[in-house]
């Protein structure tokens, strides 16, 4: 009877095992990570490059962060990647913490983790040819994770006679996280309407340049729903302020079109219809009146 009860107890405990949260395997971690990072637009604050991270022992540190679109792509989120170097009884740990928006990561993780992988050691990280490579030992077994990052772009190339070329693994190709939410009405955060005009006071300024030729605030022109155009204001080397929408430059009460700075100066640096002249408005933008 005693043995029967003991057997029953063992089976009972065993039956509860499926409901216990199991430790993440490296294979599962790799897939979970790849399904997210494949959409990453930016890898930032990468502090190490192909060197085994040995210091500081036993303490968690931020190794890099990624900017990734949320499912449906309505917003960007940040994933902060931390590593704890193993020390004596402290286990090596790879920890990823998710933030709901684009923001910097704290030096030490806080809040719930999105993923934790323990028993790690000898971690090396490198970013080469748009591939993020994590090389480490898991329970003393060597592992190499290679994540292709097709959305990472290192600027663009403007070359005469050519189309624009992005510096990325597949120039002109972007992986999107499309779902129904991507097309939901009322979720579009891009700037401006087709009817926006400077003459109606409705045009959205997406980049402002001040009289000292400093950019004021961030350049949001990539967020214009219907393109953007430049105006003539302080004839700065980086160009003038920019507005979202359809360009009606040269028309009455609209900004003057750019004429450049090499062949003309002053109010002549704007183009207006032949029956209009260019004057500076209160915002120091050359408009046609």
């Amino acid at each position: 009877m005693k043995y029967l009860l003991l057997t029953l107890m063992i089976l009972l405990l065993q039956a509860c095992l499926p409901f216990q949260e199991a430790e993440v395997s490296p294979e599962e971690a790799e897939m979970k990570i790849y399904n997210e990072w494949i959409f990453a637009f930016k890898v930032q604050d990468l502090k190490v490059n192909d060197q085994i991270i040995t210091r500081p022992p036993g303490i968690e540190q931020l190794i890099f962060r990624l900017v990734i679109p949320t499912p449906g792509g309505v917003n960007f989120k940040t994933q902060c990647v931390y590593y704890q170097v193993p020390y004596k009884k402290i286990m090596g740990l790879l920890k990823i913490v998710e933030q709901k928006n684009v923001s910097s990561c704290s030096e030490v993780s806080s809040g719930d983790s999105w993923l934790e992988l323990i028993h790690l050691s000898d971690l090396k990280v490198k970013l080469v040819n748009f591939k993020l490579i994590l090389d480490f030992k898991y329970k003393n077994q060597k592992k190499v994770w290679t994540f292709l990052l097709p959305n990472i772009e290192n600027g663009v190339i403007h070359e005469k006679y050519q189309a624009v070329k992005e510096r990325k693994i597949f120039p002109g190709l972007t992986l999107l996280r499309i779902n129904d939410e991507s097309f939901a009405n009322g979720r579009n955060n891009y700037l401006g309407k087709l009817s926006d005009r400077m003459s109606r006071g409705t045009a959205i300024r997406c980049q402002q340049v001040d009289k000292n030729c400093q950019n004021v605030g961030e350049n949001r022109c990539d967020s214009c729903a219907y393109g953007w155009y430049q105006v003539v204001d302080y004839t700065c080397p980086q160009g003038g302020s920019k507005f979202c929408g359809q360009n009606h430059c040269g028309e009455k009460n609209e900004p003057a079109c750019l004429r450049g700075t090499k062949v003309v100066e002053g109010s002549d640096s704007g183009i207006c219809q032949s029956d209009l002249s260019a004057v500076l408005n209160a915002d120091h933008v050359l408009v046609c009146q």
């Binding site: 449906g72 792509g73 050519q162 189309a163 190709l173 097309f183 955060n189 967020s223 750019l258 450049g260």
Partner: protein, 407 residues
Amino acid sequence: MKDFKRYILPLFTLSICAVLSVGGWFLYSKIQNPYSKTEQFVQDKEAINRLLQNSSEIHRIWNEGEDSREWNLVKQECLKHFNITSTFDESLLRCNPILLQCNYLFNPKLNYRFVKPEMGNDQNQKMYRYLTKSNTSHVGLEPSGYLFTVEDKQSHKQLSLLLADQCQEVFLQNRVYAYGEEISGKPSEDIEDYRFDNFNQNIYIDRHLVMNSEVNDWIDFGNPNFTKGIRKIEADELFMPATRLNYSQMENFCSFKGKQMMQAHYFDAATFLPMDLSVVSPKKNNRSPYYWTKKKSEFKEDCSLLYAQECVRKKAFHINSTSPSWSGIMDSLGGIFEVFRNPIDPESNLKASSYYFNFKSPWHKLGFRAGWDGEDFELRHFDFKGINPKLTVDNFKVGFRCMRESK
């Protein structure tokens, strides 16, 4: 209480049976299949790698267009599928969704399939969507382009690819340019040689006129309020210039693509052949009225340079029927009319050089423009400054192209 005692034994027995079966099942599954979860992850990784490999192939075909081996394989069936019987410039297949659709439909060796987008009530037959900032809320949409969702046949895992359609644009070199025809004699206060420059500007111009297939995509994926009344044009007309939009619709089409209507002075910049390509800031902008020569007298009655009235009998007109200008843009002279936004002289907004005039016509000159009110296509909507076409035409064909500035 008596009743309860009577049920204790059966209940206890049932509990033991339940515990035994759950525990037994779990032990059995662990013994039988200890690596199944791991194997699943390995298979998932292989599926992602296959999808990435296929994305790379799709990207190659997208860029190679008519030069791809796939076009040779599927060309006949593709043309039949789209009811295209006339010839067209096959370089238009670069960055064009028609080639990818045909490769998917007629290439049996593919290990992926395209997922047809759900478009609500629409009877859309396309395997893609045109994605731009005005019709989706997806972040990081720079630039706009064609969205194809690829599904791995083995695992049914999907990946959505946005393919930019910018390879049909050309960068306008940073230099000093001039607008309009060259002024003969010395410039005076009244007559100015209108010069300008585009230093510190990254201007991209469409190589070719907007095609009907692009307008069809606007009708399918743009805001229906702006495309009301515009009919889709198929078959042989797919690769022909869009000529049935009024001026305001043309502007809205360019806006849909995140671009602007082509401006007259930038068209001049892209077509007048610079006298010395190595001098970006010349003191004077001497210019020939013909895009193929620096000599003002070197006019040629040649249909491969200028598609005039006489050429209609020799070969059918299509987009890109003549040689490119120095900057790489097509149909600089001849062909159909082309309208611009002219911020200097809005009344002179039409490239009248076209097959409506013979080689002898004075209209076949760069920078010399007629006027169009942008509303309709009968003669009364045009101002040919007294040099009217000698043909009777019910509706003239007016094409357009877009341009944009890039960061």
